[in-house]
């Protein structure tokens, strides 16, 4: 049994606010569901994603891979059935997780990651990635590195906005989401929309790498806080 809902008040990070280049308020709660082996909910501004992980467990023979675990990712939209767009996002999240997970430690078994979209207010894919990473951590699965997702939008006038809201996304000229790894801050995944120049791309990559520091720091803080009692 994992540690229950113990009460502990932690210090809030309080930093100066810059209106354009900032990540919205983000928060996370781990092991909030009783059934999954690991679960988390990640909130970025109003965007919120709930993630649940099951595994390692028995795998269907048709999906068995003999030297590593089979990872399945499902993204459940809030309204209606999942379509091709969700399938493409699942594909991105799955391959990112596969790269981070040491799945060779659990051959012939299955891992499944379910992401439920609670509310979409922009930067959905990056929120999914963050929730996925926290849930995998919560499930205690061995990983070679952590990863986080950052979304950047380029506005019509060429300004770059990080962690855009859906309104900002709609007005933007281009939109990019990157997954950054914690080890060397390199790009694990990239998914873009709209056209942009090489220079803009590199700026966004560099920006995302910078922003990832914040998120990794947050990961560290939340894990430290979580295990502070058992130490």
């Amino acid at each position: 049994m994992r540690d229950g809902p113990n009460t502990h008040v932690g210090s809030m990070m309080d930093v100066a606010v810059s209106p354009v280049l900032a990540l919205r308020k983000f928060g996370c709660e781990q092991s909030l569901l009783s059934r999954p082996d690991g679960s988390s909910s990640f909130v970025q501004g109003d965007t919120s994603v709930l993630a649940g992980v099951y595994g390692p467990a028995e795998v269907k023979i048709s999906k068995e891979i003999y030297d590593r675990a089979t990872l399945e990712v499902m993204i459940q939209p809030k309204v209606g059935l999942s379509g091709v767009r969700e399938r493409a996002q699942e594909h991105c999240v799955r391959q990112t997780c596969e790269a981070a997970l040491l799945s060779t430690l659990h051959p012939r078994s299955s891992l499944s990651l379910i992401l439920q979209i609670i509310h979409d207010d922009g930067s959905l894919l990056s929120c999914c990635l963050n929730a996925a990473c926290m849930a995998l951590m919560d499930a205690g699965l061995p990983m070679s590195c952590l990863f986080c997702g950052v979304t950047c939008a380029i506005e019509q006038d060429g300004h770059i906005v990080t962690d855009p809201t859906s309104q900002q996304e709609k007005e933007s000229r281009a939109l990019m989401t990157f997954a950054i790894d914690s080890a060397e801050r390199r790009v694990m995944m990239s998914s873009t929309r709209g056209s942009f120049s090489v220079n803009e791309l590199q700026q966004c990559v560099a920006l995302s790498q910078r922003a990832s520091e914040e998120i990794f720091q947050f990961y560290r803080d939340s894990v430290r806080r979580r295990y502070s009692k058992t130490l």
């Binding site: 059935l81 999942s82 379509g83 091709v84 399938r87």
Partner: protein
Amino acid sequence: MPVDTKRVRGPEESQSPLLFLPSIAKKSVAAERGRQDGRRRGQADVRPVFARCGLVSQAKGSAYIEAGNTKLICSVFGPREAERKDEAGASSGRLLCDLRFAPFSCPNRGAWIPSSEDKDTAQGLLEALRPGVRLHRYPRAQIEVNVLVLENDGSALAHAITCASMALADAGIEMYDVVLGCSLRLDGNSFLLDPTLQEETAGEPGAQGSVTVALLPSLNQVSGLQADGDMREDTLAEAVRACMEGCHKLYPVIQRALLRAVHKRASPSES
């Protein structure tokens, strides 16, 4: 209403522009004595056929056939371990046929999900091929035949049969004989051998029918026969004979194409 969530979806309804054509009187084919492409009625005139083997690098055997504007590609996989293990499959292998029409293959756009008619055509293909393949040599195995019609300009089933048997031969599957297909359209009192799509659909109402025959040429056995429409028994017999004649015309071409494929396979090892 079930929606296809696994494909990019378009608008819910759309109509082919062909429906909005100003209603000019359709050119009547039947009025002319000859046929549009210069072939003659009632004669064993088959369209020029272009056949080639071994196009699909990933398949065990494959073939491409082009007759007039009808274009088909076929690939064969197997023999591999049978998926369904029932008693029937223990002594002899299973032949699986899948026939699909590309959405852009017909004047009106087809759907991705095969209709029951497509399945029936696949069933016809299977029944025509099965007598030609020595399935008892492949116990507990299955051989998969996949046919894709890239463009349908009539006689799709007949050419699918020919194409599939070429692909089977190319894959080195043991066969009694190649299976050749030929179809015929009965229009009024005359035969149109190897009809085009226009000839298949148009024509005088009344005495009409279509016949498709699959033949094992060297054994002179009919492995498949499908006919519909309204015809007398003697016309049917005549039509079947005409189709068989058509098949025999096709035979040397297919033989050559297969021989060439064998030569090709042999040559790299020599060099």
